[in-house]
Symmetry: C2
Subunit: 234 residues, 2 copies
């Protein structure tokens, strides 16, 4: 990929996936603009991890936009609905879980689109994954294709033909173990990341939510040690 | 249209167009949920108008979401770039103007989508117009179609087949004069609305920005009196 000198906006949550995506975009030669959304999620640990991860990747700028989705509600991550816990990854329920945030990736990609257009960039990176994913509709390839099509129609830069929008999802076909192996090759320090939906008051990950379980299984399957310590090692 | 009892989210800016859309959605029998975005536009007059217009339409709820787009910039409406002024509507430049806000309608529709999904609604109304429009790419029918397609793929409600998303744009093929005539038939009080991009410190519309000029021309062509007083009557 010849991307030297081109700018890209990378959505960075502070989790394992987006830390890997940052490393992939850097490896491809992009100048990195990291975007994190403070959407009223239950914990600030995620945003602190996003700062650490962005700094470690050497981004040109890290923009944290406030957008309080608690006014909209509808999710265990933005309301008082409890986050489900399980003993192991094979006990995670099928279907779309209560941690689904209505229209979240549509919103986040829209914010990335607006910032990218202002920067003169046409490349957006998002760490969605359709293999070991958590059942979210807006993590599927057909959603990403539809958004890429929309971007071309929605923007001045697209309509004036100054470039082709591209939504990069380099993890979409990888298992969690493959993501961790790829990131490890690229030197990602996973001790800086935070994947938990429900960490304790000291930021210690619970070890039992869907996100912790999928992460732990990923490290196990990759044959690598997870540098995080969990409240529940299970 | 048999919409009695169905809920709809209507994006309300406080301008002439969205006031008319509210009246059309009410006339169709929808229960009305008005959504306004406080995106750091230069004046609070627009949001005050949105409140007046929503109250007059008898909405069930009016939600004002803060989303400060000044952090992204890129527009005369969210930065210090001057708003262009002209003597009459036929002097408005062709092409996409500096008042274009990157990805604005994509963002606003995404927020409406998230709120609608939480409410169990599938209908969103937006007052875009492709005839006397101001050259914005995200006011065109092909953009609206692409967003409607995206909504079905992006949401839990869409993927689970609980309904068909519909983005209603009842003004899209109307001239400004036709919009004003339709609203007048439906009893819209246009004295409550605010269309100006650059009102003075007392909220008096300038009378010379693209938005004021198109509004004045619309009332003139409709053979109706504009209830607003302008700083510059031109």
């Amino acid at each position: 990929m010849s991307s030297a000198g081109k700018s890209a906006v990378i959505l960075v949550s502070g989790g394992l996936d987006s830390a890997t995506v940052l490393a992939i975009a850097r490896d491809a030669g992009f100048t990195l603009y990291a975007l994190s959304i403070n959407y009223g999620q239950r914990h600030v640990w995620e945003l602190n991890a996003a700062k650490r991860v962005s700094e470690a990747a050497g981004v040109t700028r890290h923009l944290i936009l406030p957008l309080d989705l608690r006014a909209i509600g509808g999710s265990a991550l933005t309301s008082e609905t409890p986050v489900p816990k399980h003993a192991s990854a094979d006990q995670i329920e099928e279907g779309i879980p209560v941690t689904y945030v209505p229209a979240r990736n549509t919103l986040f990609l829209s914010l990335a689109l607006g910032w990218a257009e202002t920067l003169g960039a046409f490349d957006i990176f998002l760490g969605v994954n359709a293999v070991d994913y958590s059942g979210y509709p807006d993590c599927r390839p057909e959603f990403i294709d539809a958004f890429q099509n929309l971007a071309q129609l929605a923007t001045k830069a697209g309509v004036e033909g100054r470039g082709e929008w591209r939504i990069h999802t380099p993890l979409i076909d990888l298992t969690k173990a493959e993501i961790i192996r790829r990131g490890t090759e690229l030197g990602v320090d996973y001790s800086l990341t935070c994947s938990c939906y429900d960490p304790d008051s000291n930021g210690i990950p619970c070890g039992a939510c869907d996100s912790c379980l999928l992460r732990k299984k990923g490290f196990h399957d990759a044959g690598l040690a997870d540098p995080l310590r969990y409240a529940k090692q299970a």
